[in-house]
Symmetry: C2
Amino acid sequence: MTPHRPLRFDPIEEASRNWHRAGWGDAAAGMTLVTSIMRAHQILLSRVDATLVPFGLTFARFEVLMLLDFSRTGRLPLSKIGERLQVHPASVTNAINRLQRDGFVARLEHPTDRRTTLAAITRSGRRVVRNAAKALNEGAFGDPGLDRDQIDTVVRVLAELRRDAKDFEPSPAADAVAGARDDLAVDDGGAGDGARR
Amino acid sequence: MTPHRPLRFDPIEEASRNWHRAGWGDAAAGMTLVTSIMRAHQILLSRVDATLVPFGLTFARFEVLMLLDFSRTGRLPLSKIGERLQVHPASVTNAINRLQRDGFVARLEHPTDRRTTLAAITRSGRRVVRNAAKALNEGAFGDPGLDRDQIDTVVRVLAELRRDAKDFEPSPAADAVAGARDDLAVDDGGAGDGARR
DNA sequence: GAACTTTACTTGGATGTCAAAGCATCAAAC
DNA sequence: GTTTGATGCTTTGACATCCAAGTAAAGTTC
């Protein structure tokens, strides 16, 4: 993130005062929430990306590799990656292109569905993502600048925001089925470099 | 945002379980915080940008216009805009270029410092940003999908995150001086269209 | 006053986001 | 079996982010 000297006042608090002065008090809380999330995102993304530079990764690509590393077979259809990471298909294509360029992922054809492209993590992809994860765990993830209670509080409230946005079904029963079914989409291994058989 | 059907489970909770299984429990809370903020950012930005489409604005440009609209003289140096919005100088240049292209902002020379470019909001800039603000107040800001207590809680914790990132000085005394001094950088008006004199 | 340092901004490039459109393929309906 | 609808992915383009480098101008130091 751009090195910067602290401002003498909280710019978001100042914006909130301006919102009230403009007569928009009812929406001031929502405006403050939105701009706070925007700034928090920027701070955290900057820290994460800085940590990943030595591994030749960005957070977007790191997430894709983590998902593949955690999957049962080390490979997933691109559509499944987009669904799980909740990004646009074009973003998945972009990330996979770059990971393929760097040798961390290989594209495979689906054995029975010719619409589908499979992304398969390679040996060097596994190596780099595990090393990157360790670096993140020691840095941005291990010490995000808030204590455990604060983290749990924000995570709980944001889970409600995500539920409200229809990210996932609220049923705890649905949770119990989690992860046990999703990468069944990749159930018969094709020959591919780095694919675990 | 890309229309999407809810997943049957919370992908971030699933990621947290994976993190624990990998033996990285100590960092799981931080990882969950980071990915929750990332997703919340995406949800909120998508709502805000969708609201702004009819005004020909994005959130980045909207923020610049709001800052100018709230400033005392309707004009600010680009460096001040970057400082207050906490974005990179190149991002400010980009936003001002687009706002100038659309006639919402004019670039003015600084009367005494030739390094400095002033951005001055135009009449149509004021009109569009106020209409856009109303639309946001009725939509994304007025009903962000959380109740007031939840919003206040998240905002308070994220303020601490921003303070920890040196966004602003923690002193309440500094706050008292807020806003009364910053756009003093633009203290002698130059003739410019839309400039309030 | 000259030399050096800092500041302001722009440009070019890399990155990642999503919308829109298109093509190929598979699924469903008849 | 044919037609229609849905799905998967890619490509293109618009947008915004920041890094790095460069130029011009102001400030500081000697």
